[in-house]
């Protein structure tokens, strides 16, 4: 679990840096990318019922847990709300849920097929 987290957290940091360097709304995009990718991978790990017992702690709880974040998403969403920037506020919520939930569903479907 700790080994997965030791990889997931710095990977998130690097994705965030990459997104900030590339896009104006970088921090939001970085958070979105890690959350959607992490949800997809966790879906696979959780849906894969015949997986070895170390897969879920390492890849799911450790790696995906540290790669994805709720606290930063909540903070970034709150800042839009505080500034009354309704469109980015709604878009941030809609994209996080609209891509994150299908990602976990798709991962799960893929995992159960393994």
């Amino acid at each position: 679990m700790a080994a997965g987290a030791a990889v997931g957290a710095p990977l998130r940091f690097l994705v965030d840096r990459w997104a900030r360097a590339r896009y104006d709304a970088g921090s939001i995009i970085g958070t979105l990318v890690v959350n959607v990718v992490g949800s997809f991978v966790l879906g696979i790990a959780a849906g894969w019922s015949s997986a070895p017992s170390w897969v879920l702690p390492l890849a799911g709880i450790g790696f995906c847990g540290a790669l994805t974040t709720f606290s930063t998403l909540a903070f970034e969403t709150w800042v839009f709300l505080e500034r009354r920037e309704w469109r980015p506020f709604a878009a941030n919520l809609a994209l996080s849920l609209g891509l994150g939930l299908p990602a976990v569903w798709l991962g799960w479907a893929l995992g159960t097929a393994l």
């Binding site: 679990m1 700790a2 997965g4 987290a5 030791a6 990889v7 997931g8 957290a9 710095p10 998130r12 940091f13 690097l14 965030d16 921090s27 939001i28 959350n35 992490g38 949800s39 991978v41 966790l42 879906g43 959780a46 799911g60 709880i61 450790g62 995906c64 847990g65 540290a66 790669l67 994805t68 974040t69 709720f70 606290s71 930063t72 998403l73 909540a74 903070f75 970034e76 969403t77 709150w78 800042v79 709300l81 505080e82 919520l93 996080s96 849920l97 994150g100 939930l101 990602a103 976990v104 569903w105 799960w108």
Partner: protein
């Protein structure tokens, strides 16, 4: 500097994740039940993020490792979006669509309120912050 910083973020992520893992062990939830463990880490992590940002944004010259270590590492490891998404998936998959929707809404509403409370408490403790930069 990048290699040291990446190591610091990894260490923070391990710390936060171990804490989240412990909460998960202490608050197990049966399928179809409200996922208290994930809910608790996400809400407390959002509160802590508000406090952290109020503090960091009022520092004149914060150490460049401070925010990545605490924000991306510790709080990123402590909170999770993937487990939240899996919880919603599992609840709706077990026929508890209403509970899934309630959990989804409550996580965001309570999470955003927690950020606001953290920022307000932080402002009291550390003074006015500049406009938050994302």
């Amino acid at each position: 500097m990048t290699r040291g910083l990446v190591g610091v973020v990894a260490a923070g992520g391990v710390l936060g994740s171990l804490g989240r893992y412990a909460v998960g062990l202490a608050l197990p939830h049966a399928s179809g039940q409200w996922p208290w463990g994930t809910f608790l880490v996400n809400v407390t992590g959002s509160l802590a993020m508000g406090l952290l940002m109020a503090w960091v944004l009022t520092r004149i010259d914060p150490h460049p490792w401070l925010r990545p270590f605490l924000g991306v590492g510790v709080l990123g490891g402590w909170t999770t979006f993937s487990s939240f998404a899996l919880d919603v998936h599992a609840l709706s998959g077990s026929g508890r669509s209403g509970l899934a929707l309630g959990y989804m809404l409550a996580s965001f509403v309570v999470g955003l309120v927690a950020v606001a409370i953290g920022l307000a408490l932080g402002q009291r403790a550390f003074g006015d912050r500049p406009r938050p930069a994302l």
